[in-house]
């Protein structure tokens, strides 16, 4: 089974879609939609197939496809997935598929919109599949750049400022991590300390035992560089503006997968190559994670725009991912990966619902609403499901993820964890406050013209809600795979002492 070229097919489907779209004239709306739909369905179906065919008992990298590229420098387009990346590939495919339906009725320049979106998603797939450090890094850039165009052309509210802020933050982050990548490359070439060959192959690199000083240095750069993507406090300020200004489908992808690139890269490259560096910096990450979780939850509580609430909520939830990584044990790391998946789906659902309201009402100011459950009961239900997932209600996958994170983190940082866990109460406060202000209350005749979600609008809602609840009821469907991916990384680190001084 492992022999099927599933990964190249998944990777190529958005790029092929984008290429095809470029050849179609702008006016043929239905053809444009059809191409976007086919290429996203293709990616989703193949990702699901990969998930099903993945051999959990074997774990490790599977479906490996090696494509030599710049041999002299050891740069290769090697693709493969393990329990760490496979769920994220599936996540990306699900959100892309949902995003196509969310954008179904887009009229302005829909061709370009889908081209950039597909390019972006192709980049994301590449990051999660790449077994080569440099290629992984380049795919991050491919995923980041189209977003600038997408926000500044199809966005709203201060879109130019947001697009520029987003791009500057992310490029600065990339520049920092690039320094680390080049340092690793040079270290590996050193015959005495490294391998003596030019290589970016992550598997080979992980066999090197980097000396402690280098680990601390390189991991810190990774943390700062990828920390922007996650985002890690205080590098988070691009997020609220970026999410809010972006068009709906792009907010879904931004919160759903782009933020996960950082967490993924930090685990795969940071923790994977530098266990000692990770152990050294872990307490700092834990503290910042708690700040993420709690501080940003407070910020979310006083936002006046629906999207700003959801965007801040995303940053707050990434705090759980970060503390999960910082705790460096199986339960916490499993939870962190699961939380990336769960939060991705939940945030996508949230943004889909908010986008639906915005498209119809042309406002996102919470104060403008009230009693919307009368006109839009399905939208209200969808918002509530996303909200309940967000506040970690049992029965939702998010709860499983958070519980795993907490149970791992409590063993390492009891006090910091308790502070971070208090964020589940704060989340409940702002989610229910917003829900009440928007959906509860007497019927407001101003919104009588709004129609409830129906037809294609229901596709993303049903799909995303079903994933959250389905995995919430039976998490082993995905958790066992994740565990298989996390264990090898954690095992290398189990004996290390966390924290330390220079």
């Amino acid at each position: 089974m492992s022999g099927l070229p599933l990964l190249p097919a998944i990777l190529l489907s958005p790029f092929a879609g984008a290429l095809l779209l470029a050849l179609i004239p702008e006016g043929r709306k239905s053809a444009i939609r059809a191409i976007a739909l086919v290429s996203s369905s293709f990616a989703l179906a193949l990702s699901l197939a990969t998930m099903i065919l993945y051999d959990r008992s074997l774990a490790g990298m599977q479906f490996v496809a090696r494509i030599p590229w710049v041999g002299n420098f050891g740069i290769n387009l090697d693709l493969g997935v393990d329990g760490l990346s496979l769920p994220l590939v599936l996540l990306t495919a699900i959100i892309l598929f949902a995003g196509v339906f969310v954008t179904w009725r887009l009229e302005t320049r829909s061709k370009e919109f889908f081209i950039y979106t597909l390019l972006l998603v192709g980049g994301v797939f590449g990051v999660f599949m790449s077994m080569d450090l440099l290629v992984l890094f380049m795919f991050i850039e491919i995923a980041v750049i189209p977003k600038y165009v997408l926000i500044s052309v199809w966005g709203s509210t201060r879109k130019e400022y947001a697009a520029m802020k987003y791009t500057m933050y992310l490029l600065a982050g990339s520049a920092i991590s690039l320094v680390a990548i080049i340092a690793i490359f040079a270290y590996a070439h050193d015959p005495a300390r490294g391998l003596g060959v030019w290589t970016f192959d992550l598997a080979s690199l992980s066999t090197i035992h980097f000396d402690a000083g280098f680990q601390k240095f390189a991991f810190f750069l990774m943390l700062a560089g990828f920390g922007v993507l996650i985002p890690l406090f205080p590098l988070h300020r691009w997020t609220p503006d970026g999410h809010s200004a972006a068009p709906t489908a792009i907010s879904m992808l931004l919160a759903g997968v782009i933020m996960k690139l950082g967490g993924y890269a930090l685990i795969r490259v940071g923790v994977g190559l530098f266990p000692e560096g990770a152990a050294f910096w872990a307490p700092l990450i834990a503290v910042l994670a708690a700040v993420n979780a709690v501080y940003i939850a407070f910020v979310a509580m006083v936002q006046k725009d629906l999207k700003f609430v959801v965007a801040n909520s995303s940053i707050s939830h990434m705090g759980f991912v970060l503390i999960g990584i910082a705790s460096l044990n199986a339960a916490s790391m499993d939870g962190a990966v699961a939380q990336m998946f769960a939060h991705g789906i939940m945030a996508a659902l949230f943004f889909a619902v908010v986008g639906l309201i915005y498209d119809k009402a042309h406002t996102r100011a919470i104060a403008d609403f009230g009693g919307l459950a009368h006109q839009m009961p399905r939208v209200a239900a969808a918002f509530l499901i996303a909200g309940l997932a967000s506040l970690g209600l049992p029965g939702m996958f998010n709860f499983v993820a958070e519980f795993a994170v907490f149970s791992g983190a409590m063993q390492v940082y009891p006090v910091i964890s308790v502070i971070a866990i208090s964020s589940v109460v704060l989340t409940a406060i702002y989610v229910l406050l917003v829900f009440q202000r928007v959906f509860f209350g007497p019927r407001n005749p101003r919104w009588d013209h709004l129609s409830d979600a129906r037809g294609v609008e229901m596709v993303p809602i049903v799909l995303l809600a079903a994933v959250l609840i389905g995995l919430g009821l039976y998490p082993r469907l995905i958790m066992d795979t994740i565990t298989g991916g996390v264990l090898p990384i954690v095992q290398r680190i189990a004996s290390l002492h966390i924290g330390g001084t220079f």
């Binding site: 936002q303 044990n329 339960a331 209600l393 029965g395 499983v400 390492v412 589940v424 406060i429």
Partner: protein, 629 residues
């Protein structure tokens, strides 16, 4: 047995799914689906109880739900989902499904014509599923999960009439208050797993007694105990329950009187081994319970809203149960939970009947209802007598068990406090009855007896309120060879007894309370307003519920929201300022540096010459020797 337990939990879930996705448009069908599922659960529960009576060992089965291996000295995570059938869970299943069934029948009349009729039955079914799931859960994780789900149902049902701001506020308050408590609960459960590596009740009951002293176990017990404080609305988490009366009255009967609020008591009984091994937590439990009993009863003395009186009464009675558990008698606590479920559900459904008929909730705007609504009045009075602890009704037996348990464990203070609460209970209940049902009819108040759908559940519950206490009586034990205390117990089975001294004192106290109410509100020999005026400050304190809502409201607005605004300001001004400043500095540097690119050749030539000169000097340092050194 296990299959029956699983089926009785899943039946209401199936009903929920059916109603939500299929029968929503046909209201009668939705109600039928809900009722049939509840009836199925009831029949299966009774079967379960009969089975457990024959074989008290019960049954226990579970499946692996999540498994993360332990690595190094870190624990992984092993979670299972299972079913634990024993006397405790079987009894609770019967209580829950019986009251749920009756409330669903009653709601046919009460909710008739409501635009959200189907939604209502969907929520009720979801609640029945969650509550039964909580009851049969075999481990702390599963309990916590269903615990949160019943909280969700409570949220949905309190806010059922979401167009009303008061209802929407109340539902949010209920959820958030419980969340704070569950935060403690969850941390406790996490630490419990860290210490013992298991969530399983049965496993824990063998390892906890072996646990050595240390600060961990008391901490865990105290943290987990916070959960029940929230769910059972004990001080200082009590604020949500009175507001929860915004929900439809049958919901108040089912969720906020008979079953969900008792889940806290149930959890303590289920995990009794944990709490009993930490005496300090037990003492705290007893005194928090006693305090809440007194505190809530005192507030009930001055309330005017019929549902709020009952709500504070519920708080107070739950306080009794905590007191019983705290002094070490699980039997007494669970016994009172059982009888209270029946008579408090009865009282709420009676109140619902009144509200349905009159559209009024202020008892002082009612009057003379006894003549217009005979069945309701009789049923309500039976409920009140049972609650007041009049022989031989249900409350008499269970309350005396609690008083006796406090006395026997040496808590004389709590015993006296319990008697005081009994007096107040009898007083406020009959203040209600004499005011609303007695006296002359209020003009313009339309009232009529409710239809059979509402009357029949009242009659069934009234009958249960009369006889349910007998299962804890010595007569029952003599006749059948067992009683409540020898069926559900911790440690050794408790023999039923009738302590004549306690019985006499508590009966005297209850009759005294009724008598005082009769003097003040029946005969109006003492004017209530004069009493209120005489105790001005105390009356205001009670009327404002000790200002606790105000204090919490202040903390939320002035501390939490203010904190949010402060942090938002930091985000925008400090952090954005820093990074935007970095950008501005870059641009400014660029502007300055641009000036060097002037295009004047002489300037460039000067720079080139200067650079060459410096380079030449630098290269010739060796030649020039000591000149530059």
């Amino acid at each position: 047995m296990v299959n029956a337990a699983i089926a009785l939990v899943l039946a209401p879930l199936a009903a929920f799914i059916l109603i939500a996705f299929m029968t929503r448009r046909t209201e009668a069908l939705s109600a039928m689906v809900g009722i049939v599922a509840a009836a199925a659960s009831l029949v299966l529960s009774i079967g379960l109880l009969v089975g457990v009576l024959a074989d008290p060992a019960g049954a226990h089965e579970s499946i692996k739900w999540l498994s993360i291996p332990a690595i190094g000295h870190f624990r992984g995570l092993e979670i299972s989902m299972g079913v634990l059938v024993d006397p405790l869970s079987a009894t609770m299943c019967v209580i829950v499904s019986l009251v749920a069934f009756l409330v669903m029948i009653y709601s046919l009349g009460y909710m008739k014509g409501d635009p959200g009729f189907s939604r209502y039955y969907a929520y009720l079914s979801l609640f029945a599923f969650s509550m039964l799931g909580l009851v049969v859960a075999d481990n702390y994780f599963q309990t916590f999960s269903f615990w949160e789900l019943v909280g969700l149902c409570s949220y949905l049902l309190i806010g059922f009439w979401f167009e009303k701001k008061s209802a929407a506020d109340a539902s949010r308050k209920a959820f958030i208050t419980n969340r704070w408590a569950d935060f403690g609960f969850m941390v406790g459960v996490l630490l419990l797993f860290q210490l013992f590596g298991s969530f399983d009740f049965t496993e824990l009951s063998t390892v906890i007694p072996l646990a050595k002293g240390g600060a961990m176990l008391p901490l865990i017990a105290a943290l987990i105990f916070i959960g029940p404080l929230g769910k059972s609305a004990q001080f200082p988490f009590h604020v949500w329950l009175p507001d929860a009366m915004e929900g439809p009255t049958p919901v108040s009967a089912l969720i906020h009187a008979a079953t969900m609020v008792a889940a806290g008591v149930y959890l303590i009984a289920r995990g009794f081994i944990l709490f009993a091994s930490v005496p300090a937590v037990m003492e705290g439990m007893a005194y928090i319970g006693g305090f809440t009993a007194l505190f809530a009863a005192s507030i009930a003395l001055v309330q005017k809203d019929i549902k709020r009186i009952l709500a504070y009464s519920t708080l107070s009675q739950l306080g009794y149960m905590f007191m019983a558990l705290g002094v070490g008698s699980m039997s007494a606590g669970m016994f009172h939970l059982t009888t209270h479920a029946f008579f408090k559900a009865l009282l709420f459904l009676g109140a619902g009947s009144v509200i349905h008929a009159t559209g009024e909730q202020d008892i002082f705007k009612m009057g003379g209802l006894g003549k217009k609504m005979r069945i309701t009045a009789w049923a309500f009075t039976i409920g009140a007598l049972a609650l007041s602890g009049i022989f031989p009704l249900a409350g008499f037996w269970s309350k005396d068990e609690i008083l006796l348990a406090s006395l026997r464990s040496g808590h004389v203070g709590l015993y006296v406090l319990g008697l005081g609460v009994a007096f107040m209970t009898a007083f406020y209940m009959f203040r209600l009855i004499f005011t609303a049902f007695g006296g002359a009819s209020t003009e313009g108040l339309r009232a009529h007896e409710s239809g059979p759908a509402m009357a029949i559940p009242l009659l069934v519950l009234a009958a249960l309120s009369v006889v349910a206490g007998l299962i804890g009586s010595p007569w029952f034990e003599r006749a059948f060879g067992f009683s409540f205390g020898s069926f559900i117990f911790f440690g050794e089975g408790e023999k039923s007894r009738l302590d004549l001294t306690t019985a006499a004192i508590s009966s005297l106290v209850a009759v005294g309370g009724i008598g005082l109410a009769w003097i003040m509100y029946g005969k109006k020999l003492i004017k209530a307003e004069r009493v209120a005026a005489a105790f001005g400050p105390a009356y205001r304190l009670l009327d404002h519920k000790f200002y606790i809502d105000e204090i919490y409201g202040w903390i939320f607005a002035r501390v939490m929201l203010a904190g949010g605004r402060a942090f938002d300001w930091i985000d925008h001004k400090v952090i954005d300022g820093l990074f935007d400043g970095l950008g501005a500095a870059t641009r400014a540097t660029g502007r300055k540096l641009r000036l060097t690119q002037s295009g004047r050749l002489q300037g460039y030539a000067l720079v080139i010459f200067g650079a060459v000169a410096i380079a030449a000097l630098a290269l010739s340092t060796d030649l020039l020797g000591g000149l530059l050194k």
